[in-house]
């Protein structure tokens, strides 16, 4: 190694000193403008969702649930940039608070899905044989069940609580991650570093959690970023059906449902929640796409 370094300039040394997969990916992501802007938008939206409702309350005195019936549905104005809804509630506050619910449901459910899926897939792939067949047949069976029915049944049994909704969505959303991780582990476990670890006496658990799973993380992250928007859509769908969040708590799904009923007369009640939802989903998908491209070594240019 030393001899190679001789005669090279310091900046070249840095580049040769081996940049990790993550550093490379980060650089590639920065070059992808669309993904980068999507990420920025999501961060801004996240900040808006966390602090926006409280900010509106302090500055303008609006919150997302106090009704003022006489202040009926009003079109957007300076005072209410998104207008007000049927009960005279500020729509901006409701959209932010609804996006908060949707984002947190999406992130948490996707996290639960990734967690279950990764462990399940790694175990199944690592042990192989009968264990693998058995575990994968269970996945096949769950795949065959109508996904939305399963969630609806879970929600009906568990009750209409928000936390349970996260869990119900996550608990049936891990199948894809499990398959992806299993596929990766199947090829990884044949590699020499696993053999090395095993000869050093590492336990099965140690091999799975310390050697295999870290190596599958890049595909887990990609699956994660693409699961988030689908989870948000699922939550919106459940809320649209009236099984998701319960009034007066808004979510983007229930706001769009209300808006869709009134769009002919009060257009803003559909346009703003719908617009935010669409933009959010696009941003999440662009970002997911970008991360996937960035993490794929073959895309190196």
């Amino acid at each position: 190694m030393k001899c190679i370094q001789v005669g090279l300039r310091s900046d070249e040394i840095d580049s040769r000193a081996g940049s990790s997969l993550w550093e490379d990916a980060w650089k590639r992501l920065q070059k992808n403008k669309l993904a980068w802007m999507s990420g920025l938008f999501l961060v801004l939206l996240g900040i808006g969702c966390c602090f926006g409702p409280a900010f509106l309350q302090v500055v303008w005195g609006y919150d997302d649930h106090t009704q003022n019936l006489a202040y009926g549905p009003q079109p957007p104005s300076l005072e209410h940039p998104f207008g007000t809804d049927f009960y005279g509630r500020d729509l901006l506050a409701r959209v932010l608070s609804g996006a908060r619910v949707s984002l947190s449901v999406g992130l948490l459910a996707a996290f639960v899905a990734a967690l279950i899926g990764t462990i399940y897939g790694a175990v199944s792939g690592y042990f192989g044989g009968v264990v693998d067949s058995l575990m994968m047949r269970i996945v096949d069976i769950l795949y065959a069940l109508p996904y939305m029915f399963l969630v609806i049944i879970l929600v009906t049994i568990l009750g209409k609580s928000l936390v349970l909704l996260f869990l119900a969505l996550g608990a049936v959303g891990w199948l894809l991650t499990a398959r992806v991780v299993r596929g990766q582990v199947l090829s990884l476990k044949e590699q020499d570093f696993v053999l090395a670890a095993r000869s050093l006496g590492t336990t099965n658990r140690g091999i799975i959690f310390e050697h295999l799973i870290p190596n599958t993380l890049s595909s887990v992250i990609v699956t994660f970023t693409l699961t988030v928007p689908s989870m948000i859509l699922q939550e919106a769908f459940l809320s649209f059906l009236g099984l998701g969040v319960q009034p007066p708590q808004p979510s983007l799904g229930s706001l769009i449902n209300d808006g869709a009923n009134q769009m002919l007369v009060f257009w803003w009640t559909l346009v703003f929640p719908g617009g935010i939802m669409a933009t959010m989903l696009f941003a999440l998908n662009f970002l997911g796409d970008g991360i996937r491209d960035a993490l794929d070594p073959r895309m190196k240019t």
Partner: protein
């Protein structure tokens, strides 16, 4: 690749805006939606909002079932489609005894739809079945007006001792407990329809469950229409009953009745021509009221119905009358009808609408948040947070949800009470109400006849539709005393006393008096607005000569074409 996704995003946004812009376009037509029927001239497409609980006259107690029964069965008298005055139907004429307690009806020769002759015995069978405790009808209380009706329902008298007798096959004698001034009006109600006794025997012989007699494959009826098809939660099809005694005046051959619960969907289907009339029991979405006002096919008329919340008085914390009164007083009813329901309803804390048949309303306070907070504190909950969470149930419909959401916020804002909302499908909702499986439950009550008693009866101990579990001997005695009075003025005074007594305990929370708003295609004739929202299909017809732009459109309040009523 990124370029394409970005382009698709732009395309999506543009499409979104275009769709929205077309949606927002102001329509220049004076009518809301299509003005040409999408079917033949002898057919009509209507909506009946939900799957009816019962189509059996002896058991039905909800308006979705009533709508069907009224058009497939015919009683002794029928209600005039505009004025609701009693007209001869199966009975051609009748005698009334001097004390007003005994009626003798003379029946015309008529037939069931299977050709079997209809006799006075079919009425006796139907009315006995109504009060028979084995039937378990929620509306058995309608039969308490007949002599021995109450006793039979309680199991204290034999079923055949009921004060309804067939003197011969075409003469029916009815003996009443009290000389009710509204009896003939009430008699056109769906609970009093005849029932084909021979069909029950037939089903029994064939070993078929008799409860299935209203299914289209079995049903035998005597009204203007007959059910030929029933697709669960989809639609029902009715064909003209050729054996109906007045078949000559029935103009339609076929009626298709859909079951769309969502008022917005029903309205959109009306716009697209899928419905000619979104039906009697479908309300229009509140958001659209101001918008619809300007269209010529929009109609509004008074409606003898009260919208209220039942309270289950057996479960704490709502077993305390102070809490119930606090809940009632915290509701700003004027604001509710002005901004939420928007259909010209009248906010009211009274159970009986003011002015009904000369009745003077109580005019209880419609909104008093300070008093509400005081009552709640007196009940031991100085701040609403101490009160356990209560659940408010309603049947699936945007309108009910809007009212519930507004009231949820009022209780939260005025009293600090947390309320959970729960929506249920109509049949499930009714079953839960019956089994007292709720805390607060939405209900609307449409007067069965123009008399305060139709509302006050709801709170009597023996009424199957009393879902509050509240009962009072004093109240029952007051109502009984009122009905025995011969002086109408005095009778109303006692009824008023009874209403005040009951509402001081607040077993239910009245919210507003209904109005009916509806859309009727301009080519549909023969629908009149009346305060019970009864719309017999037999008078309806499609005006083929209608051309848009023709300005002499028939209003529901001022019929253009005279009604031909056969006597």
């Amino acid at each position: 690749m990124h370029k394409t996704t970005f382009q698709s995003y732009v395309v999506f946004v543009l499409t979104f805006i275009t769709v929205l812009a077309t949606g927002c376009q102001q329509q220049s037509s004076p009518y809301f939606g299509t003005v040409k029927p999408r079917h033949g001239p002898k057919e009509i497409w209507i909506n009946n909002s939900s799957e009816p609980e019962w189509l059996d006259p002896g058991r039905c107690s909800d308006s979705t079932g009533g709508e069907i029964i009224w058009n497939t069965f015919e009683g002794l008298v029928q209600a005039h489609p505009a004025t609701l005055k009693p007209l001869p139907a199966i009975a051609t004429h009748w005698d009334i005894s001097d004390d007003g307690r005994v009626y003798r009806f003379y029946l015309r020769p008529s037939f069931w739809s299977d050709g079997h002759p209809l006799t006075a015995d079919d009425f006796v069978f139907a009315l006995r079945r109504l009060v028979d405790p084995q039937t378990g009808s929620k509306y058995a209380s309608n039969g308490f007006i007949f002599k021995k009706g109450l006793a039979i329902s309680r199991g204290e008298a034999a079923v055949n001792s009921l004060g309804v007798r067939a003197l011969d096959s075409r003469t029916l004698e009815i003996e009443l407990v009290d000389p009710l001034p509204y009896f003939l009006n009430f008699l056109s109600f769906y609970s009093f329809m005849p029932i084909p006794q021979h069909l029950f025997q037939n089903l029994q012989e064939r070993g078929i469950d008799q409860d299935l007699w209203t299914r289209p494959e079995h049903v035998v009826c005597n009204g203007a229409f007959q059910m030929t098809d029933w697709q669960f939660r989809q639609h029902m099809t009715f064909e003209k009953n050729m054996k109906y005694w007045d078949a000559d005046s029935v103009k339609l051959d076929r009626v298709r009745v859909a079951m769309v619960e969502s008022s917005t969907t029903a309205m959109n289907m009306y716009v697209a021509g899928e419905f000619d009339w979104p039906g009697g029991s479908t309300s229009l979405p509140a958001e659209f009221m101001d918008h619809l006002e300007s269209y010529k096919d929009f109609h509004r008329h008074p409606y003898l119905g009260v919208y209220f919340y039942w309270i289950n008085t057996t479960k704490p914390p709502l077993d305390d009358p102070l809490v119930r009164r606090a809940l009632s007083l915290a509701i700003d009813r004027d604001s509710l009808v002005k901004h939420v329901t928007r259909g010209g309803q009248i906010g009211s804390s009274d159970l009986v609408p003011d002015g009904l048949a000369g009745y003077e309303g109580l005019y209880l306070p419609v909104y008093d948040p300070a008093e509400a907070r005081r009552l709640l504190a007196e009940a031991g909950y100085p701040t609403g947070q101490d009160l356990p969470e209560v659940t408010l149930s309603f049947n699936t419909s945007e309108g009910h949800k809007q009212v519930a959401e507004a009231i949820q916020a009022m209780w939260q804002q005025e009293l600090g009470i947390t309320v959970e909302l729960e929506n249920q499908e109509w049949k499930v909702f009714l079953a839960n109400a019956e089994q007292m499986n709720f805390q607060i439950s939405r209900m609307g009550w449409i007067g069965d006849y123009a008399d305060p008693y139709t509302f006050l009866e709801l709170l009597t101990s023996d009424c199957g539709n009393n879902h509050s579990n509240w009962s009072s001997k004093t109240y029952d005695a007051l109502l009984e005393q009122a009905n025995q009075h011969n002086d109408p003025e005095e009778r109303l005074k006692i009824l008023r006393k009874a209403e005040a007594f009951a509402l001081a305990e607040q077993p239910l929370i009245p919210l507003y008096v209904y109005t009916r708003t509806q859309l009727i295609k301009p080519y549909v004739q023969g629908i009149w607005g009346n305060h019970q929202d009864r719309h017999p299909w037999k008078y309806m017809w499609i005006d083929e000569s209608f051309e848009p732009g023709e300005e002499n459109i028939e209003s529901v309040n001022t019929p253009r074409k005279a009604i031909q009523v056969h006597k």
